[in-house]
């Protein structure tokens, strides 16, 4: 297994206000697998994604990437781990306002020893004609596409997507999902996508349902359909 999550527990607060967000999560993903984490608000899916991404820590349990445990990593090693292996896409695009589309993507490329070709990515993302624009000149969908470009340009082993379509309309959301699908198929990255949109599960290789801090369902999607055909 490429990504293994074993017995992850996480709680917030202390005493009477202590809330257990993750109550012992186990899961495993193959390299190149497209996994969707589904669940209602507060089910712990974003927390789990953040722990996998090394920007939050677990109280108990261990995560292995390519067989290597993350738990013993210090702050600097974690940063290097994110730098070398991870790409992040958030609901908020968080683009740098005074850099152009191309430069925002370069921000990601800078971190990689073998970045992908930026022009190709711009083409793939349909941003070639907007390459010289600033984020304020773009629509929400275009901004999210730029954020995807920034995440994938360094060709990460794992692409973590936290509600990437949460702020977008139906049509734009589908465009973004198609792009993530293309990226997954073209570059073979492992994708973990958090969403509360039940329909999105249909495009995944694996669907994991979380509720109340626990994995309620973890199964391979045998009826996978292209993002293009998703309806909600």
């Amino acid at each position: 297994m490429f990504l293994e999550v074993k017995g992850i527990k996480k709680a917030f607060g202390e005493g009477s206000s202590r809330v257990e967000v993750l109550k012992g999560i186990d899961l495993a993903l193959e390299r190149g697998e497209f996994c969707v984490l589904l669940g209602p608000s507060g089910s712990g899916k974003s927390t789990l994604l953040n722990i996998i991404g090394g920007i939050d820590s677990a109280d108990e349990g261990e995560i292995f990437i390519g067989g290597e445990p993350m738990g013993k990593m210090k702050e600097k090693q974690l940063t290097m781990y994110r730098r070398q292996h991870l790409g992040y896409i958030f609901q908020m695009y968080n683009l740098i306002p005074n850099l152009t589309v191309r430069e925002n993507i370069e921000v990601g490329a800078y971190l990689s020893k073998n970045p992908l070709n930026i022009d190709e990515i711009l083409q793939t993302l349909g941003l070639a004609e907007h390459a010289g624009k600033l984020p304020s000149q773009l629509s929400g969908g275009q901004q999210q596409r730029t954020a995807i470009g920034r995440a994938i340009v360094k060709n990460p082993d794992i692409l973590l997507c936290d509600e990437p379509t949460g702020a977008l309309d139906y049509k734009t959301s589908k465009e973004i999902l198609k792009l993530i699908e293309t990226v997954n198929q073209t570059y073979g990255n492992t994708v973990v996508m958090v969403t509360h949109n039940d329909a999105i599960k249909n495009m995944a290789d694996r669907v994991i349902r979380l509720r109340d801090g626990q994995v309620r369902d973890n199964r391979v999607n045998t009826a996978k359909i292209p993002a293009e055909e998703l309806e909600w």
């Binding site: 991404g53 920007i55 992040y88 850099l99 921000v107 971190l111």
Partner: protein
């Protein structure tokens, strides 16, 4: 691949040009001024140090009561010294100034020609360059001195008069009312002998190795010389203020100016970090994303530090160029206004470069690095969640309901921006301190000058000068005869005159208070000039002495003989409200008894009218309005220009701080301002909310800072006077200073408020609806 984040820098600079421009300007102003000052000071000091050898400056001088015969000179030279004639005559110019005329020097204390040429004809005179400048005289101008018309052939700097001390024991030099000059030997020979002072300079055959040795050797020399010829004055070089003061003073200015620069740099570094902190809060999401992607904290610190460092570096370079070119001359001219220095050559000054460039940049780097390390210490997740505080979210401050809605709104804005307001407070306090320092200085001097006439003990005081032969311990008979003759010569018919005894002692030097020579007056019973009924053993001290030495009635203090180690203890009976000089009042018989002066001995006169029937040669010192205001007059000349620079600087500092802070506050609230616009608030209502808070705050801080700033300035002033100067100037400032401060502050603020109003109007309504960074 180069870090693409660097592409932001130029755009950041362009988009926030106003902020960077004012910071750049402030840095350039400070660095160029200090760099110019340091280069000028170092070059001046080098020229001054070099002048000792180049112009063959004396190792000391003595004044003989009569012209020395060749035999006496030979006898003196047997004391391992070479003796040179340095006769002079003090004459009064048409404008009332005293001009000391020397014969053109050829072997010692040589003159440096600064303009024109040396005198060649009998009616030609070369005046001291600084005296000429301060009195508006130039080469080629005629001048009347001692009733004779002279033509100024040129301007010179005499190497033994870099500072214009008329007498070595003067409290302060006077470069406007006292000057030196040289004339041809022929012209000098026409001055009647009775008008000449028989001064001689000496050079040691072997200069003593250390200052301590120099003191011992010169003490012995004074004793030996006095046995060869009666002396009326003896000043070894180390004690000669006219030669040594310049070096000491330039050195002490240096420390003050450098400290001033560092304070400004620290404030600017804080301004940078506050503005950067604001950017960090604004861009928290982006920073969180970058950190999630794998950007290290160090990379981000470097990124946010780059612009402040580039701006500082550019400012340091521009400042140094300006300093070396324009401001070096301005500062050199300030020195040339106080000191008569020879021409100087600009020296490349490594320490000035380090102090004005390397140290400020290092300070900027360190402060920015530390504060950014703190601001960027949060985890990527905290940045993504905009959770940038270690503290638990505090609850909203409870505000009383009876307050109108607008007032509560304004208070909320104030609490939300408290950190900016704290920095603004520091900035205003610093700017106000500078402003007050600049405004207070001329005012204090002016007040002092104006208070002197009401405060004088008498219109004229004459301190008599006892001939050296009158105190010859080895020849008591001749000494007695000399004394009798002296007493008959110093009697006056003037009915206003009242005798007093006098004796000079020195205060003990401490770490914080410079030693001073203090005149002890022995007052006759029922004095017409002092409103004091002194009882036996009473010791009253002048108000200025009490203030300088921090003495109160009942306190004890110790003083010592000027040239010996004998000490005397006193206990203060009371303080006499006189601020003209540091002095002590006691009964005449007490004073005569204390110093074994003889029962009927007296040392001088108080008089309302000038005493004209005593030969001038018996008058050692005349204390009148002119001599009492010498210090304030000189300080006005030498510091006046500098104070205007300080004022200008303070106003700029004030404007910049308010501009930057109010800009940050408005930018921080752009979204709320935009939202209030959408809700239907008018621009003026929004301005009342967002600008009025700052206005009220600025005015409140300006007014409330006056008492603490005034206390700090008063303390600083007292410390400077105690440590650096002889005598005392009481700190009295008029209300006009406070009014001017508030007026200058308010006018500056109005300007900024207008800019702020434009900024508020410029906030687009769309800002509230944006969900992007």
């Amino acid at each position: 691949m180069k870090n693409p984040l660097r592409k932001r820098l130029l755009r950041e600079l362009r988009s926030d040009f106003g902020k960077y421009a004012v910071i750049f300007l402030l840095l350039v102003l400070s660095i160029s001024e200090i760099s110019g000052f340091l280069v000028a000071a170092e070059s001046m000091i080098a020229a001054y140090d070099e002048s000792f050898e180049k112009y063959n400056i004396e190792d000391g001088n003595f004044t003989a009561e009569e012209k020395m015969s060749p035999r006496r000179i030979r006898a003196a030279e047997e004391l391992d010294i070479s003796v040179y004639e340095l006769f002079y005559s003090d004459q009064t110019a048409a404008g009332g100034q005293t001009i000391r005329i020397f014969k053109m020097r050829e072997d010692i204390n040589l003159a440096c020609l600064m303009d024109g040429r040396i005198p060649e004809a009998e009616n030609e005179i070369a005046l001291d360059r600084m005296f000429a400048d301060n009195n508006g005289l130039r080469s080629g101008d005629p001048i009347e001195i001692g009733g004779k018309r002279w033509l100024i052939s040129g301007l010179v700097a005499l190497s033994d008069y870099s500072t214009m001390f008329e007498n070595n024991n003067d409290m302060m030099f006077d470069s406007k009312m006292f000057g030196v000059s040289v004339v041809t030997p022929e012209a000098f020979s026409q001055i009647p002998e009775e008008d000449l002072v028989w001064r001689y300079a000496w050079k040691y055959d072997a200069f003593p190795a250390t200052t301590a040795e120099e003191i011992d050797v010169s003490d012995a020399l004074a004793y030996d010389l006095n046995r060869i010829v009666p002396l009326t004055g003896f000043v070894p070089r180390y004690a000669n203020q006219a030669i040594m003061f310049t070096g000491d003073d330039i050195g002490s200015d240096r420390a003050g100016m450098t400290m001033f620069l560092y304070i400004i740099i620290v404030i600017i570094a804080f301004v940078f970090t506050v503005t950067t902190s604001n950017t960090i809060v604004k861009e928290a999401g982006v920073i969180g994303t970058l950190r999630s992607m794998g950007y290290t904290k160090k990379e981000l610190i470097c990124h946010f530090m780059t612009l402040p460092v580039i701006v500082s570096l550019a400012a340091a370079l521009a400042g140094n160029v300006l300093g070396y070119t324009v401001l070096k001359k301005v500062n050199a001219d300030l020195y040339y206004g106080s000191y008569s220095l020879p021409t100087y050559v600009t020296l490349w000054n490594a320490s000035a470069f380090i102090e004005t460039t390397v140290v400020p940049l290092a300070l900027m780097l360190i402060i920015n690095f530390l504060l950014l390390s703190v601001r960027l210490r949060y985890s990527p997740l905290q940045f993504l969640r905009r959770d940038l505080t270690r503290k638990k979210k505090s609850r909203a401050v409870r505000l009383p309901r009876f307050l109108p809605f607008f007032s509560r709104f304004r208070l909320r804005i104030f609490f939300q921006n408290i950190s900016n307001y704290v920095l603004l407070f520091v900035g205003i306090l610093f700017a106000n301190t500078l402003l007050m320092f600049g405004l207070m200085f001329p005012d204090v001097l002016q007040n002092y000058q104006e208070s002197v006439p009401d405060d004088m003990l008498a219109e004229h005081q004459y301190v008599l000068q006892l001939p050296a032969g009158a105190v010859d311990e080895d020849n008591k008979v001749s000494s007695l005869l000399e004394m009798l003759y002296f007493e008959s010569e110093v009697d006056t018919e003037n009915e206003d005159a009242e005798k007093f005894s006098a004796y000079t002692l020195k205060t003990l030097k401490t770490q914080w208070i410079k030693d001073d020579e203090v005149l002890l007056y022995g007052i006759v019973p029922d004095s017409r000039y002092l409103n004091l009924s002194l009882k036996e053993g009473d010791v009253y001290i002048s108000g200025s002495f009490a203030e300088k030495e921090m003495l109160s009635p009942g306190d004890s203090f110790t003083m010592k003989e000027v040239y010996e180690d004998d000490t005397y203890d006193f206990t203060v009976t009371g303080i006499y409200p006189y601020h003209g000089a540091l002095c002590i009042f006691m009964r005449q018989d007490d004073l005569n008894g204390m110093f074994d002066l003889g029962e009927d001995t007296f040392s001088g006169y108080f008089s309302e009218t000038p005493i004209t029937d005593i030969d001038r040669k018996y008058i050692g010192q005349e204390i009148d309005y002119s001599s009492l205001t010498k210090v304030s007059r000189q300080l006005t000349i030498s510091m006046g220009g500098m104070m205007k620079v300080v004022d200008a600087f303070a106003v700029i500092m004030f404007v910049i701080m308010i501009y930057l802070m109010s800009k940050i506050i408005i930018e921080k609230n752009a979204q709320s301002i935009s939202m209030t616009k959408i809700l239907g608030y008018s621009d003026s209502e929004i301005s009342r909310l967002y600008i009025l808070v700052t206005s009220i705050y600025v005015i409140a801080v300006m007014v409330l800072s006056i008492p603490p700033v005034s206390a700090v300035i008063q303390w600083l002033f007292a410390v400077i006077i105690r440590m650096e100067m002889s005598g005392w100037i009481p700190f009295r400032i008029s209300n006009a200073v406070y009014r001017t401060m508030i007026l200058m502050g308010s006018v500056s603020y109005l300007l900024i408020a207008a800019l702020e109003y434009r900024k508020v109007r410029g906030v687009p309504m769309g800002d509230a609806l944006k969900n992007t960074e």
